[in-house]
Symmetry: C2
Subunit: 448 residues, 2 copies
């Protein structure tokens, strides 16, 4: 008998972890609902062609594919062999595998919108909280199964959506107790204008990819990389000027306007950013950050990033942005989108480090009745408590009292009730205080 | 561009469906918590050897296997080919696939208990609500991705667990409004005694499998099948007597005692059933049903089945039972288990047919503000409402009023607010009634 184990990069979530995760997820979902977003769930499996080619070559390699069933049935042998040869030569093949596991929540959302386009009420504001799977090399903080938590609006170009997303981030992080978190904002249009200023939009990807690394490798290495990509010293000076724009939000807008304000895209991007900043109002730590690029290529407008409080070495705990064309890949045109995502696993780690989970989060059962043998009165009383919404249990067997108390302690059950000789004793096992009370008093207790 | 589609047997859940499903799932989870059960979540993927061989030959065929990644990397070619040959010859092969999708929640639970045995607080009462995947031929009411909703106790032989499960079923079905549901109970020990009475425990599987079909094929066909399995007319007469035991619960126990009460297992099983019936008390539709067999072979004690109200042609909406050996398959001995399961998809269909979902379940946004152009006052007021917990949204653009109302109607938003000239008008779009009010009055409204 081999010892059971878990696949690499996957995790069991025991009771305490599930409760803490649900605390985060429920907080986020409630805020999404407060802002008029509606829940959507899509299947874990998608057709292979729905996913392939959507995440770049690297992404394609990380998609988990599902083997067709019945392949070792003799009548499918030939079919399976052809499929296998195809897949080995780099083609994917329906004979062999035609389904794969969800890699993110955006493509399934786009697929859903494309499939249900004529039925939906636009703008369609949906949120989705589900696991995704990636065959990445597992490492600290990187899993093969992890949760995404997205809100997107399909079918609206209004910048009020961006303003709302800023408020959603703030409401969630404030409720979760992440004081000191930071929101950064930029626009892909400004980056596109910068590329144009440097000599052409063809440079946009190179520039974006290089800038995206600024935090990690520093300005010198970024300019080195750009020079390696063939940018001239004159072009690199423009980019350096851009990356070193400083000051408060208003002065930064001014600085950028001097640099790229004469380019149509630049003017539009900057006035969009100005609109979002002015509508957001004070009290929200929203910072214009022209060095924010975000790797994903489908963003075309405003981009966001949420950072953990500076004292925690964690970096991004959320991000998002605007994309002009959500469903074009699936044959439905003119559906713009904008969305944000919360990094649940990282938020969990940050909250652990800051110690901001509520104390009572791990109280499951509130009261345990000692088992002193067959006693219908105990069961009757417990059922009455449960009817009042008090989470209660009876120890399963008439074992030694010590053993029963030990179970209650290990399960963090705060109250233990013993009954006998017509009296009810309630012990608060956190303080050790025992109170004798009547049945009615017990039923009126709140057990907190 | 091919039209996007979903894999056969899978479903998207749009907002209304998610809300209704969550209503069911939250009701069940809350009752599990009231009874001291704690949440567990396990990964969608398990190692292949964790799952294979646990569900019988038919089950093995229905397990979705995941292709190892990087197989079409040239350096993995030889490895992949060997793996492919192995899998074609009926062996599963780690070169080729070493992971598979969860097939049920019981085996992952057993794997979890075995892996964490020394850390757990026994009896370990866990509930688990997650999707499972089976490569079954899709048909009405049968999906390839569906949700299971289980509660199990590991490490207790106390029959009070069974009594609690009866109360859990009753609490859930009552809260969901499923008047007329029925709970049936039997014991595998009684069936084992019947087999012994007929000539030997070797007959238990044949007898159980045949009895399991009684509802569908009738008594004559059952005896025909048993006769085909080689049972003698004398043996079949005993089984017929058993299957036609009638009366209320007490008379049925008497009838069975006469038939198998002299067999040790029979006496034990009957007194267990008697205990559960007597502890359950009146008011719960718990019926002894000696024809209940339940196909799964790992049950060894009490077995349960929950039936939809008789006016709905649906059959089983839940089931469960006791198994002596939960973790033996994973090398950990002496962990008995008992558990129940809710059939969420079927409960959903029954509730739709009975029309018992609460009316307000599909109210997401409670109030929509009309968009009449740039107006900071509207946004400020909306944020105040949201702070009070009122789910609010502002229509995204300054479009025609008709268009804005249409959006609200389609989304079942009950209240629409328009502001202008210093006055606030609130329209209840269900009645058409418009009320003019002050800001303070608006903030005090409950929007139901």
């Amino acid at each position: 008998m081999s010892k059971p184990s878990l696949p690499q990069g996957t995790r069991d979530f025991g009771p305490e972890t599930v409760r803490k995760r649900n605390y985060i997820l429920d907080t986020i979902k409630n805020v999404f609902e407060l802002y008029g977003f509606q829940p959507l769930e899509t299947p874990a499996m998608e057709n292979l062609e729905t996913l392939m080619g959507k995440y770049g070559d690297e992404g394609d390699k990380l998609i988990f594919k599902i083997l067709n069933n019945g392949l070792n049935d003799p009548k499918n042998l030939e079919k399976a062999k052809i499929g296998f040869d195809n897949i080995l030569s780099g083609k994917s093949d329906r004979n062999f595998t035609e389904r794969a596991l969800r890699y993110d929540l955006t493509i399934p959302f786009a697929r859903y919108v494309a499939m249900n386009h004529s039925l939906l009420n636009f703008p369609f504001k949906r949120y989705q909280v589900q696991p995704v799977w990636r065959a990445d090399r597992p490492q600290k903080g990187r899993y093969r199964e992890f949760w995404q938590c997205d809100a997107d609006v399909a079918g609206s170009t209004s910048l009020m959506n961006e303003v709302e997303f800023v408020h959603i981030y703030d409401a969630v992080f404030t409720k979760l107790g992440l004081k000191g978190y930071e929101l950064r904002i930029n626009s892909r249009m400004v980056l596109a204008a910068l590329a144009e200023k440097c000599g052409g939009t063809a440079l946009l990807t190179d520039i974006t990819v290089a800038i995206d690394k600024l935090d990690k490798i520093g300005l010198d290495k970024v300019t080195e990389e750009l020079s390696g990509k063939g940018l001239t010293p004159e072009q690199i000076i423009i980019i350096e000027k851009y990356l070193t724009i400083e000051g408060d939000n208003a002065s930064k807008i001014e600085g950028a306007r001097k640099l790229v304000g004469d380019i149509d895209q630049g003017a539009k991007g900057l006035s969009a950013l100005q609109f979002i900043l002015s509508k957001t109002g004070p009290g929200i730590p929203l910072h214009l950050d022209f060095t924010l690029a975000r790797g994903l290529n489908y963003y075309t407008g405003t981009i966001f990033e949420a950072k953990a409080p500076a004292e925690i070495k964690m970096g991004s705990i959320g991000g998002g942005g605007r994309y002009d064309d959500l469903t074009g890949l699936f044959g439905v045109k003119d559906v713009p989108g904008t969305g944000i995502s919360f990094g649940v696993d990282r938020i969990y780690d940050v909250m652990e480090e800051l110690n901001v989970f509520p104390n009572d989060i791990n109280v499951s059962t509130q009261v345990m009745f000692l088992n002193a043998g067959d006693d219908n009165d105990v069961f009757r009383l417990m059922q009455l408590l449960r009817r009042e919404g008090i989470r209660s249990e009876l120890f399963h067997e008439n074992q030694k009292i010590d053993r029963q108390y030990k179970y209650a302690e290990k399960k963090s059950i705060p109250f233990v009730v013993s009954m006998g000789n017509g009296s009810i004793q309630v012990k608060d096992i956190r303080t050790g205080i025992v109170t004798v009370m009547s049945e009615q008093e017990l039923l009126n207790m709140r057990f907190v």
